[in-house]
Structures are given as structure tokens and as C-alpha cells.
């Protein structure tokens, strides 16, 4: 399915999640990078050396979850916009998802948006709780969405062009 539609299936992305106990311990990164392509900016971007590609730049990145603290620095460095950070410990009943965003307008912190899944379909309403626009992100904004905790690994985007999407 991924190769014919661009939509990663549950078995694809589940294999990219860290073990249950790490997930409950705090924010963690999810690399939705499934194909061997020549690319390695993520490896250099990590201040904790938690991401390894290695000598062959076609390798798929591997994450050491003992070293990754979910800081999210790598998100805006990925040309494929394939990196997300998930926090299942954000607030009682709620998790936070950090997503890369390259559309205008940029949703404002505190606004509400419709969050979508990997297939672009609506998942839930979400509060924008963080908007990162650091210069070194080079115009890739990183947005934090507060979502029901059971949906943290379903939400991967914001609906485009919705009139109530924080605009």
C-alpha cells in the first residue's frame, strides 16, 4: 500500500515505534522513513547521537531510544518531512505530537485545528500548543498538537485550507 498510495499502513509504522516502556517514559521520535534513499541530514542533526545511518547513506536511519529524548531537533532537518515526535505523557488523557509544517498560514499557538492522519483524513480536533520557527529550521515550522493520547500515533498532519484551522 505504501508503495502505491504513499500511505504507511499500521504494520509499517508500528514497527518504527520504541518498546512500550520507553513510550511511557516520555517524548520519543518516530522516523517514518521506510525506503532506502541516499539521504542522511538527520544523523548529523542529532545533538545526542541517537540516530545512525552509517557509511552507506542509503541506509534507513536507526534510532537508539536510550539516547533520544524526543527533543525534535531532527524534525525540520528531514527533507522528506518524515520525522515526528510523540509524547504520551503530555497531560492526563492527552498526548502531544510534533509535526513538520511547510504551508501558509502557520497556525497560531492556542488555536484549534483539524488533525489528520497519514491518509489526510480527519482524525480529531487538536489544540496547537507549540509553534517552533527557529532560524536553523529554514522555513520548516514544527507544530505541537495536543490530541487524545490514544490518537498520538494516528495524527500526522493538519487539514489544509480548513477555515477554522487556526487561521
Amino acid at each position: 500500500m505504501l508503495k502505491t498510495t504513499g500511505v504507511a499502513q499500521k504494520e509499517d509504522w508500528q514497527a518504527k515505534l520504541p518498546p512500550e516502556e520507553r513510550r511511557k517514559a516520555g517524548p520519543y521520535v518516530v522516523y517514518e522513513c521506510y525506503q532506502k534513499i541516499p539521504c542522511n541530514p538527520c544523523e548529523k542533526s542529532c545533538p545526542f547521537k541517537a540516530v545512525t545511518i552509517g557509511e552507506d547513506i542509503n541506509n534507513i536511519p536507526r534510532v537508539d531510544y536510550d539516547l533520544c529524548n524526543g527533543c525534535g531537533v531532527c524534525i525540520a532537518r528531514c527533507p522528506g518531512l518524515a520525522i515526528f515526535v510523540v509524547d504520551e505523557t503530555y497531560a492526563p488523557g492527552y498526548g502531544k505530537v510534533l509535526i513538520p509544517w511547510e504551508y501558509l498560514p502557520v497556525p497560531e499557538k492556542g488555536s484549534e485545528v483539524t488533525a489528520v492522519g497519514r491518509d489526510g483524513k480527519d482524525v480529531c480536533r487538536a489544540e496547537v500548543v507549540e509553534v517552533r520557527t527557529a532560524r536553523n529550521q529554514d522555513r520548516t515550522v514544527v507544530i505541537g498538537l495536543k490530541v487524545p493520547v490514544d490518537l498520538v500515533n494516528e495524527v500526522r498532519g493538519i487539514k489544509l485550507g480548513g477555515e477554522d484551522n487556526g487561521r
Binding site: 532506502k36 489528520v116 492522519g117
Partner: protein, 362 residues
Amino acid sequence: MVKTQLLVVGGGPAGLAAADTAASLGIQVLLVDEGRSLGGQLVKQTHKFFGSGEHHAGVRGIDIPQLLLKEGQDKITFKLNTTVIGCYQDRVLTALTGEDEYFKISPQAAIFATGASEKFLAFPGNDLPGVYGAGAVQTLMNQYGVLPGNRVLMVGAGNIGIIVSYQLLQAGVQVAAVVEAAPQIGGYLVHASKLARAGVPILTRHTILAARGKEAVESAVIARLDDNWQVVPGSQQELEVDVVCLAVGLSPVVDLLRQAGCRTRYVPELGGDVPVRDSLLRTSQEWIYVAGDVAGVEEASAAMVEGRLAGAAAAKQLGADVAAADEIIARSQASLKALRGGPVGEKIRSGIAKLEGGIANA
């Protein structure tokens, strides 16, 4: 007659890298480009590039031209708005600046980085206003700030088709669908997933049958294909769109090379007729090198490295410091090997294997 040690034809990623490398090795370079600014297709590439640090990975294409010219700028003469229109075996080229400044160039060696042109597709209505090549859409939109229309059907799910679709969405244009005749998405899946998250359907095994409209495109008819690439009866559907954008592949621009007597060969993996060349990118004419899409269509990251390779090889031939040139040649060859080393590089590898043997065999 303009004399120069090295002539570089084309100021895109390959040509800029070639000129910079040769100049940094002490060679006098004349670079001509038909555009009004340097960078070739880079000036339209608003997305961040793949590759490694040495390929400017993570940098947006629009910001790369200035990074390519770092060392030898004072040794390079730039001649923009200039088209090379003839290339003769006695090592004389003719060129035209603007509409009336016609002149001859006599270089000791030349690097052709003329890129590639878009392929077209035959279907009823393909001459209607609103049918564009993806390159034209990028030029209008990303270079001149003009939207091509309101709602687009993209034909082709290679990297160009899916990246331009993403750029259309960023510009506020709707993308009704991306159709791809092959059974799988040809471009990088991470790009395809960006479109999927934006709700754009990617329809593999689908093709366009017709564009319809009175004065301009008003709709497009698409249909599903079976295992033999034949239309599945009854699968036609009509999409309301005012733009049909074709991203169905590129062909190397080899006309000047042919005129100069360079041998070419048809290699479908590389986009069509490509010049036969050796591992230093030297053609069958020993004073002519090639780099970038003209040498075989692939990613811009590879084009930049090929530019460095050809620039160093040509400089070495012209008497530059051998050790310094050899070091760049070795580094570039290793870098190309890394870029092409994975599964997505397989097609390129097999295409190049056919070419490099060409000179020895002929």
C-alpha cells in the same frame, strides 16, 4: 573569436559545480547560460534536497547556486542570456547573446551541462491551454509568482510529479489527483506521503485519456490500467480541473554534442539518447566532457558531483595540478557511488554500465 581554456555550457547545478571546480584548479573558465540568472532548474526548487552534507542535503534548491560558487569565482567569466547554437569538430562553437550579439568561441576543452527537456504525452486535448509541463508550472509559480490555475491533475508520480504537486499545494492550488501508469510510485515515498497527508490521492496504474474543454482545459478523463497497461473498460472517470500537468520524464539535451560528433547511445534507463562517455565523463570527442542530466537523467545532487568530476578531469587535461585534480576526481567518484549505491540507484547504475563500455567497444 572568444578564446578560453575551458567553456562550460549551462549554468545549472552541474555547470556551476564544473566551472567552480575547474576555476579553483587555476583554469580560466567561460560559462554561458541561456537564462537571465544562474542556477538552471535550481532556482525553482523550493524544497530541501536529499543526499549528504557534501551534496548540500537539507538545503533548499533555491539556496544552492550561491553555495556552488565558492572558490574560483574570479577565474570565471559569466555570459548570461547566451545560447550556444553550434558546436563544430574543429573546436569552434557559435553563440548568440540576446537577439543580435553573435560570436564564436574557441575553447581548449568544453563541458556540456545542457540538462534535459521534458517528455510530452499524446492524448486528445493535449494542445488545450492549461496543459503544462511540470517545469513550466514550476517556472510560472516559483520563479514568477504566477499560479497556473485552481485545480490540477498531475500526470506522473516520479519525484518531479510529486514534488511539484506538493509545491502547488503550498501555493494554495488544489491537486485533484496524481495519476501514474506504473504499478508503483516512482518518486521517493517520503515525498508521496506528504501528498497523502494533504489528502491528495495518488492513483497508480492510472493514466490520462483526454483533456476536455472549449477554450481551455475544463476537465480531464482518467482511467485504470490492467497488468498489460491497457485501459480497464468502464473505469473512466472525469475530474474537474483547469490544469493538466505532465511530469512523465526527461530526455537529455544532446543536440550540440551530436553536432560536435560525440557518439550517443539509446539508454532508456538514462532518459533516451545519451553521450557515450568514460568514467571521467569524457565523450568520444576528447575535448568534450558532459555532466548532469545531459549525461543521464538523475537527481540534482548527482549532477553537482558530476560537475565537480568533469571540472577536475577537464582541468587535469588542461594542465592543472595533477594531484589536486586527482583528489577531487577520486572524491567525486566515491560520492557518486554512494548516491547511486542503494535500490533507487539501480536503474542509473545499469544505464551507466551500458555507456561506459561504449568508447572501448566502438
